[in-house]
């Protein structure tokens, strides 16, 4: 009797979902809309809503919208999802998931959830420099979002780390705000689009340092400088702001049971299956060629339909 009670309790705590979707960017949200329309019993767990779309500038290649801003398109996605009253755990991050009987246990800092299947749609995030001082000075002068935090550096000397499009985009935004901008890139020259390159290179406010590597971020309470290594020599640069724009890395660290490629992207088949039956993945976190909002959305739809088929083909026993 006692034993039965205990088992009942466990069952109540761990409700079994058909599907858990990890992430609520274009891929995760589209998957959730498809899952809702297939009347699946599911849950979405995500750190944020909109993913990288919410951070994007102007979008001119999402069919149906000739022009829309990133935050606006993200709001449209969210509105679409909310229409279906989808259960959503927001600001919750998945730490791990593993196989458990007929399904999986998904673990976050706040709890554990059980599900027959999982869709990983956790996208990508800004790459970190991995140098001393980076963690300590995050949000204390060091930031990964020029669009968000740029205005706080009005009249200040700042450094942008990186030489690609996102670094140039940050530098161009900061040209209207900061006093001086130093672009520090490990490459031999800037690599972004030529239109943006010209804009930056002809600005009297910008200095470009090629073949240079950031070795440390320094300061007291806030950033006061960075240490740069160039041609084997160390030099200090006095700046109050550091904008890290060195590209993206997939949010796949919690997918310990999944097979990934050398840059950490989850390997998927054309049907969005991973190496583990019952686990599907879609969008920027996967090795799908081309990372685009419209592609992520389409992949999300494919993953949800794949799950639907999987659930029919693999009914629960008992």
């Amino acid at each position: 009797m006692v034993l039965i009670k205990k088992r009942l309790k466990t069952r109540l705590v761990y409700k079994m979902y058909d599907l858990i979707i990890i992430g609520a960017g274009p891929a995760g949200i589209t998957a959730s809309v498809y899952a809702a329309r297939k009347r699946m019993n599911f849950l979405v767990i995500s750190r944020d809503i909109g993913g990288q779309t919410a951070w994007s500038g102007d979008i001119e290649n999402y069919t149906g919208y000739q022009f829309i801003s990133g935050p606006e398109l993200a709001a449209k996605f969210e509105e679409h999802m909310r229409q279906y009253k989808i259960p959503l755990k927001e600001t919750e991050e998945v730490e791990d998931f593993r196989r458990d009987g007929d399904g999986f246990i998904v673990k976050t800092a706040k709890g554990e959830y059980r599900s027959r299947t999982v869709i990983v749609a956790s996208g990508k995030r800004s790459k970190e420099l991995g140098v001393p001082g980076e963690k300590e000075f995050k949000n204390r002068g060091l930031t990964y979002c020029a669009t968000c935090d740029g205005p706080l550096f009005s009249g200040k000397d700042v450094a942008v780390i990186g030489g690609g499009n996102s670094a140039l985009d940050a530098a161009i935004q900061l040209m209207k705000i900061a006093r001086h901008i130093t672009i520090v890139t490990s490459a031999g020259s800037l690599t972004g689009d030529s239109v943006m390159r010209e804009q930056v290179e002809t600005s009297p406010l910008v200095t470009v340092m090629n073949n240079a590597r950031v070795a440390a971020v320094t300061g007291d309470k806030f950033v006061s400088g960075i240490t740069i290594v160039k041609n084997g020599l160390e030099e200090k640069l006095q700046v109050q702001g550091v904008f890290v724009e060195i590209g993206l890395t997939p949010n796949s660290y919690f997918c310990t049971i999944l097979e990934k490629n050398q840059i950490g992207e989850i390997k998927v088949t054309i049907q969005n299956e991973t190496n583990v039956p019952g686990v599907f993945a879609c969008g920027d976190v996967t090795d799908v060629p081309e990372k685009q909002i419209i592609i992520a959305a389409g992949e999300g739809a494919k993953a949800a339909l794949g799950v639907f088929r999987y659930l029919i083909q693999n009914p629960l026993h008992g």
Binding site: D48, G50, T91, R140, T143, T147, C148, P151, L152, G155
Partner: protein
């Protein structure tokens, strides 16, 4: 008495938009302070929070950095 709430934000940051949306959903009136338009407000925010990331919420003296739903909920007594 409704609590005095200030939101230090920039118009372009997604977490600022979400934080303000959350307050609206819960019928919380707040003062929206755009730190990109007012440099002094930016300094005030840095002083209060000891950091430079947006959004920052001042809920009757309780400072919440970022869109931290739980902390906001607790500070508001929701």
């Amino acid at each position: 008495m409704p609590k005095q709430v200030k939101v230090y934000s920039t118009p372009t940051c997604p977490y600022c938009i979400r934080a303000k949306q959350y307050l609206k959903e819960n019928n919380v009136t707040f003062e929206d302070i755009d730190v990109s338009a007012h440099e002094d407000a930016g300094q005030e925010m840095i002083q209060k929070s000891g950091q430079m990331g947006v959004p920052v919420l001042d809920i009757e003296g309780t400072i919440v950095v970022g869109f931290d739903k739980e902390k906001i909920k607790n500070a508001l007594g929701l």
